[in-house]
């Protein structure tokens, strides 16, 4: 079945070093203005080939169903996949330790100095771009599913549930998940 090969195509035969996990997630974290998902997908799928597009989306699904910051969950899962517990720890440390220390010092300095309006304007521009990057990342993740109209429909429903209603994320997820999984089960049974 083609789906199986798509899921295992991330290269798991080459042993990834702990240092590589640490530095890659350090980079992801340092780049992630506005949201780390854009950078996590770019690093893990496009540049390092640690996971396939589908596997990345699956891991993200898992993380979205759990409490906590999803992107940190991806660091933990990628580390766990490649090198087990110690790998998860290496990826997590890269993601959290140095960026938090740097951000904390920068922030503390800023809080104690005057606030410039130009900084505020720059941040507005950065945040508009960050939104676009996130939308594009979703678009890229959707590409392997474009052949399944039902998948596109459920993606659109989840999108609409968040954007056009005031429902909490968990309610949208729990409402749509059983339907979407049931449809997938029927389709798989027929295939």
């Amino acid at each position: 079945m083609s789906q199986v090969s798509a899921l295992t195509e991330g290269n798991s035969d080459v042993r990834v070093t702990l240092a590589a996990l640490f530095t890659e997630f350090l980079k992801v974290s340092l780049c992630s203005f506005g949201g780390g998902l854009v950078w996590a997908r770019r690093a893990v799928v496009e540049q390092r080939h640690w996971m396939s597009e589908r596997e990345f989306a699956d891991t993200l699904s898992l993380c979205q169903f759990m409490p906590g910051p999803n992107v940190i969950g991806i660091a933990v899962c990628v580390g766990a996949k490649l090198r087990g517990a110690i790998g998860a720890l290496a990826a997590l440390s890269g993601f959290v330790l140095i960026p938090c220390a740097v951000g904390f010092v920068l922030g503390a300095l800023y809080l104690q100095s005057a606030k410039l309006p130009v900084v505020h304007n720059i941040l507005d521009g950065v945040s508009a771009v960050a939104a676009g990057l996130l939308i594009a990342t979703g678009g890229r993740l959707l590409m392997p599913h474009l052949g399944r109209p039902v998948a596109v429909l459920f993606a659109a429903l989840a999108f609409a549930g968040v954007v056009f209603t005031e429902l909490p994320l968990l309610v949208v997820l729990l409402g749509l998940a059983p339907l979407s999984v049931a449809v997938a089960a029927v389709q798989t049974g027929r295939a």
């Binding site: 589908r54 910051p69 951000g103 809080l111 941040l123 771009v129 999108f159």
Partner: protein, 176 residues
């Protein structure tokens, strides 16, 4: 409440919140604000807003940063570290355990079905996240910038840092 126990109480509350923060930390922000501003008076409303804006602006795990700013205000640098660990520790343990379990049944037919069902929802939510973020932005110029950025990201292999820098320059020149 003595000054010694305040950081401990904050860390315990954060650990609790992090375990129920389905959909990421923004979902528990209202509760957090109640707890530290109205409930305990550790930070003022204005400080909370400033911390939030600042945490968004620096790269890195911004919700952890927000918690460490609050922890810093409540108990200095040790308070900041305790708050950060309380924020990401419990969810990380959960992620690891769940991934292990998930991975063990990777080839099971039911899991393939669940994966096929969930992936589209996840993707829809990612796009929604970007859209919601764009809506809080500034006018049609901001929207145009968002669309241009999405186009560049999809169509080209430009390092997104350049796109972000371009957006920052746009805003800095007062074009938004």
């Amino acid at each position: 409440m003595s000054s010694h126990s305040a950081p401990v109480a904050l860390a315990m509350h954060l650990a609790l919140l992090s375990c129920i923060s389905f959909g990421g930390f923004p979902s528990v922000l209202p509760d957090l604000r109640n707890f530290v501003v109205a409930g305990n008076g550790w930070v003022t409303d204005q400080e909370f807003t400033n911390f939030f804006a600042l945490a968004q602006a620096v790269p890195g795990p911004n919700m952890i940063l927000l918690m460490s700013f609050i922890g810093w205000k409540v108990g200095g640098v040790p308070g900041a570290i305790a708050s950060a660990v309380a924020t990401f520790g419990p969810p990380c343990a959960l992620y690891f355990a769940a991934y292990r379990l998930w991975d063990r049944f990777r080839e099971a037919p039911w899991q393939m079905i669940v994966r096929r069902g969930l992936a589209p929802l996840t993707i829809g939510l990612v796009i929604a996240g970007g859209t919601v973020m764009a809506r809080t932005g500034t006018g049609w110029q901001g929207a145009a910038l968002t669309i241009a950025a999405a186009g560049l990201m999809i169509r080209t292999r430009i390092n997104p840092l350049w796109i972000l820098a371009g957006g920052g320059a746009f805003g800095g020149l007062g074009l938004l």
